[in-house]
Symmetry: C2
DNA sequence: TCGTCATAACGAACGGCGTTCGTTCGCGGT
DNA sequence: ACCGCGAACGAACGCCGTTCGTTATGACGA
């Protein structure tokens, strides 16, 4: 058989648009073997590569959520079989690490500006959280992975630089960095969790909140007076405000503690 | 066929000890039907129930780690098939929620003591973290679940009570509660992650640290000066100290922020 | 120009998973 | 003595991540 074109050219009644196949050879019965005297024009489909695989995975996350990302699904997106991916990626875990790090690449890290370290740190952390949150429920993978990709390292380096320039003791710098990263990942994770629950459930965004609401409402008021009393503050406050509050607390506390022991 | 004894009595060359089957009926060819005139002694095996299922799951977590917990494995532990569990538990997710909440039941929550709120809050959070951490890598499930089980609610109520008694504004109480729970879960999660990596890997506990160590060591010093300089503080500090530092920062910061806006 | 050969790509399969379906059967109530 | 109900279950479905052994390709030395 003459033609090869790496991937399976349309092999069955499949997707409506296989975007990469060359426009040549009129729309007729597609399965006809190419005449041997006319070699197929260039295969066109760019060869597999780590970036293209990461891209495909990210596309799936954006379009259908993290749970839809399986090796099979990613391979399908690239018109190949799951086994082919293992040349470029050691497994699903590494793939997700790469996707996460790629997303973190959009965060930019400023040079330290004297007197603005608090706002600068908050800004970076905020940006990283938003980057994670801007790709569906991708953040649900953010805790399952040791963040040591190149982009994560750039962020860490930037934060450390700002903190040290502000005169925070070294040990405190190291610890607060870890704590902030943990906080950021956890918040993004939780948001993503709620988002994916809400999506798969009935209501668009209410569901999870409504559930907690319900639980608290059903509580015996004499056993759980504080929870019942604070219910409006618990379910009502939006996530961003809460995140900001946490950030605020940590940075303020850092000032106190660092000052205390210096 | 006369005998029932709920579970499959040994049905194939299987496990060496099926711990629950009654000691009766000598060890001979086991598959023989029990003579109809001699009804099987009591089934003995206690009937399935939600608590017994949760117990079994927790046993597996302790013995073989979270990844070993599958519906099939839990069912096997109870000498039955996976389908039988669904009478008492809606699915794997609910099962894990129940296991987590059961573990949180060991945390005890003090009445507020005036002037000691900071230490009290830290104590409860610490205890909850340790409870999660004391069951292998169970905590790896702690973020995947909305903590709204009865025991989690007791803890929340206790913390809120202490905080309010200390005069913290309501909105701040609600937020800091969320933030602390998130921090606690995330830390336990991360610890569990490292633990299970270390276990499945070669070295007993070094691996993950050594990995980060390696990464940082391989960094170009002129591009990542702060990371390289702070390396000893990053990989060296033990988890407990870091956790405590985060707790300290948050509580201190809470004082600052609450004071600032009251 | 023609083999040679490393290796990317692949089809097929393995063993496991969570969950569901339809059936069986012991037991409490009549 | 019978019946009906629901717990228990065996089997299957449709996925999953990963591995194995084979095939095809393209660069390169002869």
């Amino acid at each position: 058989m003459a033609q090869t074109a790496r991937g399976k050219t349309p092999k069955s009644p499949k997707s409506p648009n296989t975007p990469k196949t060359p426009p040549a050879a009129g729309q007729g019965p597609t399965e006809l073997p190419t005449p041997p005297w006319r070699r197929r024009a260039r295969p066109v489909r760019q060869p597999l590569s780590q970036p293209s695989i990461v891209d495909a995975a990210l596309r799936i996350v954006d379009a259908q959520g993290l749970d839809a990302v399986s090796m099979r699904r990613v391979a399908e997106e690239l018109n190949t079989g799951p086994a082919s991916l293992y040349v470029y990626v050691s497994g699903k875990e590494e793939l997700l690490e790469l996707v996460l790090d790629r997303v973190l690449g959009t965060v930019d890290v400023p040079e330290p500006v004297p007197g603005e370290w608090e706002e600068q740190v908050k800004g970076v952390v905020r940006e990283a959280r938003d980057a994670l949150a801007s790709h569906g429920d991708l953040a649900r993978a953010s805790m399952a992975v040791i963040a040591a990709g190149p982009n994560a390292l750039v962020i860490s380096e930037g934060l450390l630089t700002i903190l040290r320039a502000a005169g925070i003791p070294d040990q405190a710098c190291a610890w607060i960095l870890d704590v902030l990263m943990l906080y950021l990942s956890a918040d993004a994770y939780e948001s993503a969790l709620y988002r994916s629950r809400a999506e798969s459930g009935e209501d668009p965004a209410v569901m999870a909140q409504a559930y907690l609401d319900e639980v608290i409402a059903a509580l015996p008021g004499e056993r759980f007076p504080s929870l019942v009393a604070l219910k409006p503050h618990m379910v009502g406050g939006d996530r961003d405000a809460r995140f900001e509050f946490g950030l605020d607390i940590m940075i303020s506390g850092l000032g106190v503690v660092a000052g205390r022991e210096k």
